[in-house]
């Protein structure tokens, strides 16, 4: 097969693993593999930042490229698990994940970090909990729009690179969660 200009990436994506009825052990293994690939992808992004800071731009580039490869594996596994639905369903899945983190996971973890006097861990958990509250609201609003047949408004979405605070529209002068200056925000346009 030679490269064919008429072949689109969409067509190629049909070669991706498809959702299928899975036996219990294979499903458990795919879930573990999805968890492993996701964590590898995140670690490599962090390692890329460190390599850039260490004056090794080409090692940083390598970490970014391999992180992307791991995101492809994570997507393939998640897809085979039947985890990717229509956008309205995906927004519901996302909303439920954020709700669990807000109602159950982070309050418990924050409390344990407090009991154990682990201040840095407390800060890391607390910042995440705060941002998940914004995410939950944004996902609920987006799902309502999509169910009504529309997209959400075309506005930039900005994220504080220190704590993850997420805002639609104008960026505040200082992050309301961690007080970083507005220059610390990364904007998605």
């Amino acid at each position: 097969m030679t490269p064919d200009e008429t072949v689109s990436l969409d067509e190629l994506e049909r070669k991706l693993p498809q959702p299928a009825e899975l036996h219990a052990m294979t499903e458990a293994n795919l879930r573990a593999a999805f968890a492993g690939e996701s964590q590898a992808a995140e670690k490599y992004l962090v390692f890329a930042e460190k390599a850039a800071a260490d004056g090794l731009p080409n090692v940083a580039n390598l970490f970014r490229a391999i992180s992307f490869a791991e995101t492809r594996h994570a997507r393939n596994h998640w897809r085979a698990l039947g985890g990717i639905g229509a956008t309205a369903d995906n927004l519901q899945t996302a909303f439920e994940g954020e709700s669990f983190e807000i109602d159950e996971m982070y309050p418990a973890y924050v409390e344990v970090a407090r009991v154990q006097s682990d201040k840095q861990a407390f800060k890391s958990m607390h910042w995440a909990l705060k941002a998940e509250m914004d995410h939950k609201r944004m996902y609920a609003e987006a799902r309502a729009k999509v169910l009504a047949g529309g997209d959400v408004a075309a506005q930039p979405v900005s994220v504080c690179q220190v704590c993850g605070h997420t805002v639609i529209g104008d960026v505040p002068d200082n992050c309301p969660v961690c007080a970083a200056a507005r220059q610390a925000y990364r904007t998605f346009v």
């Binding site: 899975l22 294979t26 499903e27 293994n29 962090v46 390599a51 992307f68 840095q120 861990a121 997209d151």
Partner: protein, 181 residues
Amino acid sequence: MTDAFKNTPPKPEKLGAMTEEDLKAAFAGESQASQKYLAFAATADAEGYPNVGRLFRAVAYAESTHARNHLSVLGGIGGTADNLKAAWGGETFEIDEMYPAYAAVAKLQGNAEAGTSIRYALTAERDHQKIYDTTAKGVGAGDDLGDAAIRVCPICGHTVIGDAPDECPVCGTAGQFFSTF
């Protein structure tokens, strides 16, 4: 503009055992949320919801910052030589232990689609292990990697340094579709 980042990400600290366990679980959760949202963004784009796609991508990035913060507190970020060694160790575990076991079970259970997803990953992890190994040796001797482009197959994750092949040797995707870094 270092001032903008005055309130720095959390630092490593000596952790109580339960807090350490919680942080590891939170790192796993944030990492998976980020990856799900990136996949959901691609679906939203394909369905004609580019602004929902943007929302998913931005929130995926927010979850990445949380994952980084948790990893930092866990002491998971070393110097680059150590990070390359950690990355090599992770790939080696996947190649020697995890994926062969998963591939065998998928075959036993007749789950062909899962088998494909696992085979694609296992094959690419071998590329990554080899590249991390040579890169770690270079960095150990004080050298950066060369500046050749790195190309990744968007279907199976096959990774090469230098030119893309005419077609991916793992999944057959044309080289023109490889992502270039």
